[in-house]
């Protein structure tokens, strides 16, 4: 095997993103990019096409020169040798298969520090591959944002702060104190003795000095972009004619997604308008989708809510993708709505009710009972069930605890759920909360509400039949925004008409308001 390592040879300006990788891909399909500034590729088969390694090296350098990139190039039998040589020597370094140790032998030991970065990239590639497999085999597929940093093995330069770098540096310092100052001298030592004295890091350095790889080269496929662009002969006004254009584009993109076994998790629609302005919309999808009709419907529904201001000249679609979903349904569990259907439904409901009005309810981490949130609705896959009656189990446990201690911590819903058909247990009262509290006038007698009057002409004041409270609650007093703070007394009040309300008295202003009704 003949491995080439290409390294960008300039500190300033930094290597253009992907430029070195493009040079390598021009000569070999088996490429492992190692950050922006280095790439390792397998050029074994090029001997039959180009000739001996020297000719191959000239081809690579010609490609780099054509791209305007100053590079170092090393060809060797292993990835480690090529990497160390490319980082140690400027220009071209040619080696033959089987002469790795001899090539490295005259180099000072400090050049072995370069393998820190190589090992990190190799480990990153391995994690990336494992993560891809995990994503493909996972039963529950959630949208996974593609990240430029794959699997934690983020490319970058080794810094003295890295643990492995420090470990290698310490081992090399030890070796130099022992009088071993070249790779050849280190390679001449017994590996067992090196392990006994310097541990695993010493062994890795010994392997590098011998030009041995820890893992073989794992080629990374070129990231494929899913974009489609249509430049229209005549501007389009309105969404109906646009739907035909989008249908063509979505059909093409769906075919490409199918071929690559990918699903779209985000759609970026860019409309270039006749005013030369760009109308950009980005849609995040709850699950990977590659159905052309669904994609088109989602884009159209979004554009219905946010229409462009002028006629459309150019339509650009760009998809963010993740590996395709593999769904294993359950024969016994009830089917949940498919992600495609949920996406379309959510888009329709959002178009109907507005942004921020559709989703899953969320209880916020605050003591302010009025606070609530909305999260994206992502239905779990069919077959995943919630642990059966958590509440009933909790109830039994709490009842036993109450029987022993005399204190009941059981909540009312649980008690009601446990009550049988013949029992006369009251059902719990649940609050229906008014998002806009209603101001009321409350007459207080002996420190408790006695009469409540609404500020509407047709409602008359009503006597309080029963009440409970006050429950004092306050919070966010540390907040600089005065509107965020609250400090109030809450009362549960039953009026003469039999309805039970939650009233609150703001302690700062003394104003009363009704927050909701129990039902």
């Amino acid at each position: 095997m003949l491995i080439a390592c290409l390294v960008y040879d300039a500190a300033d300006p930094p290597a253009p993103h992907g430029a070195i990788e493009q040079v390598a891909r021009a000569v070999s399909p088996r490429v492992t990019p190692c950050g922006r500034a280095a790439v390792v590729c397998d050029v074994s088969g090029l001997g039959r096409v180009c000739g001996p390694p020297a000719v191959v090296a000239r081809e690579v350098l010609a490609q780099a020169a054509a791209a305007g990139l100053p590079v170092r190039l090393a060809l060797a039998g292993t990835m480690t040798t090529a990497w160390v040589l490319a980082h140690a020597r400027a220009g071209l370094t040619l080696g033959a298969v089987g002469t790795d140790a001899a090539m490295l032998a005259p180099l000072p030991l400090t050049h072995l520090l370069a393998i820190t970065e190589l090992d990190r990239h190799v480990a990153g590639v391995r994690r990336h591959t494992e993560a891809a497999v995990a994503i493909r085999t996972a039963a529950d597929h959630r949208p996974v944002r593609r990240s430029s940093k794959s699997g934690g093995g983020s490319p970058g330069t080794s810094t003295p702060g890295d643990a492995s770098f420090r470990s290698y540096r310490d081992r090399l310092a030890t070796l130099e104190r022992w009088g071993i100052d070249t790779c050849g001298a280190l390679a001449a030592l017994s590996r067992a003795d090196v392990r006994a004295r310097l541990g695993a890091s010493g062994v890795r350095l010994h392997q590098a000095a011998c030009g041995e790889d820890v893992v073989p080269l794992v080629p990374i496929a070129q990231a494929r972009e899913f974009v489609d662009r249509i430049e229209l002969e005549w501007p389009i006004e309105g969404l109906e004619p646009l739907s035909f254009v989008l249908a063509r584009q979505c059909d093409r993109l769906a075919r490409h997604l199918e071929q690559a076994d990918r699903g779209a998790v985000a759609i970026r629609t860019t409309l270039t308008l006749t005013t030369r302005a760009h109308h950009v919309r980005t849609l995040a999808l709850p699950a990977p989708i590659r159905d052309a009709k669904v994609l088109r419907t989602l884009i159209l529904l979004d554009l219905e809510s946010h229409p462009p201001d002028a006629g459309i000249d150019v339509v650009d679609l760009q998809l963010d993708v993740v590996p395709g979903r593999i769904v294993q349904g359950s024969l016994l569990a009830r089917a949940t709505p498919s992600p495609e259907r949920v996406s379309t439904l959510l888009a329709r409901l959002t178009a109907l009710c507005g942004e921020g009005r559709v989703g899953s309810p969320v209880v916020l981490d605050t003591h302010d009972g009025r606070a609530c949130g909305l999260a994206p609705f992502l239905p779990p896959s069919s077959g995943s069930t919630v642990t059966e009656p958590i509440l009933a189990a909790e109830a039994r446990e709490a009842m036993q605890s109450a029987a022993m201690t005399g204190f009941s911590t059981v909540t009312e819903p649980i008690l009601a759920a446990e009550a049988g058909p013949g029992e006369r247990a009251p059902v719990p009262a649940h609050l229906r909360r008014w998002r806009r509290p209603r101001p009321v006038q409350v007459e207080v007698a002996r420190g408790r509400p006695a009469q409540v009057a609404w500020f509407t002409p047709h409602d008359r004041a009503m006597a309080v039949r029963a009440c409970a409270g006050p429950w004092r609650t306050s919070g966010a007093w540390w907040d600089t925004d005065a509107a965020a703070t609250w400090d109030r007394d809450e009362w549960d009040v039953e009026l003469a008409d039999g309805l039970v309300y939650r009233l609150a008295r703001h302690r700062g202003t003394g104003a009363w308001e009704a927050e909701g009704v129990f039902d």
């Binding site: 949920v342 309810p361 609530c372 819903p413 006369r424 059902v427 998002r435 408790r448 549960d492 309805l499």
Partner: protein
Amino acid sequence: MASAAVRSLETLLQTRNLGSALPAMAAPPRRLATGWLAVDHRLGGGWSLGALSEVVGASSSGRTHLLLATLAQATRQGQVVALVDALDRFDPATAAAAGVCLDRVLWVRGAPVMVEQARPGVIEQAVKQAVRAGDQILRAGGFAVVALDLRDIPARCLQALPSITWLRLAQVVEPQDTVALLLADAPVGRSARGVSVLLEGRAVWQGDQVQSRRLAGFQPSWVVRSATGVTTGEASRRTAWEGAC
């Protein structure tokens, strides 16, 4: 003689593929438990799947408890549910305390309108929006429960809707394994296989001392109306509903 005639009639219906018209031969309706054991007992196991049912009553009668118990029951079985909240009065903390798995709930929030202070037309718009949202969710399918909360909406606004509205919703839900629930202050509409649960309640307070008193809940009574008749719940009283329905 009569039985022979009935048998021949049944055979004739079956040969014409009209066997489903025979009540005895129709499959028993599948049901979803409400989570409120006493009501389940009266309903024969719970809400009928593929039917439009309704929960009706005044405020402070236990309607929310019946709704949350149903949602909790469905979500605990791993199913997803939808709640169309016409006036945006759903309280997630209350629902979570009642055992509802919130991440399995699709919550569609209507406009937060105060009925007493709303401008003309706003409530009607909110009702139409809620009904359309409910219709779209039912058509999407896959939800175990789709609840359309129209409580606190004046009867005149609901009556302004075409009567065909509820029939269409009933038709959409009929072939599905879904419970469509309408919650309102007064009866609105239900499908032939659905039921109307009419609730009344009175508040129950616990604690003799002023300092220790708290709201324990509601003592409900209910009337269940269906196409096959009327059954009453415990402690039920003859009320205005008897005439209203």
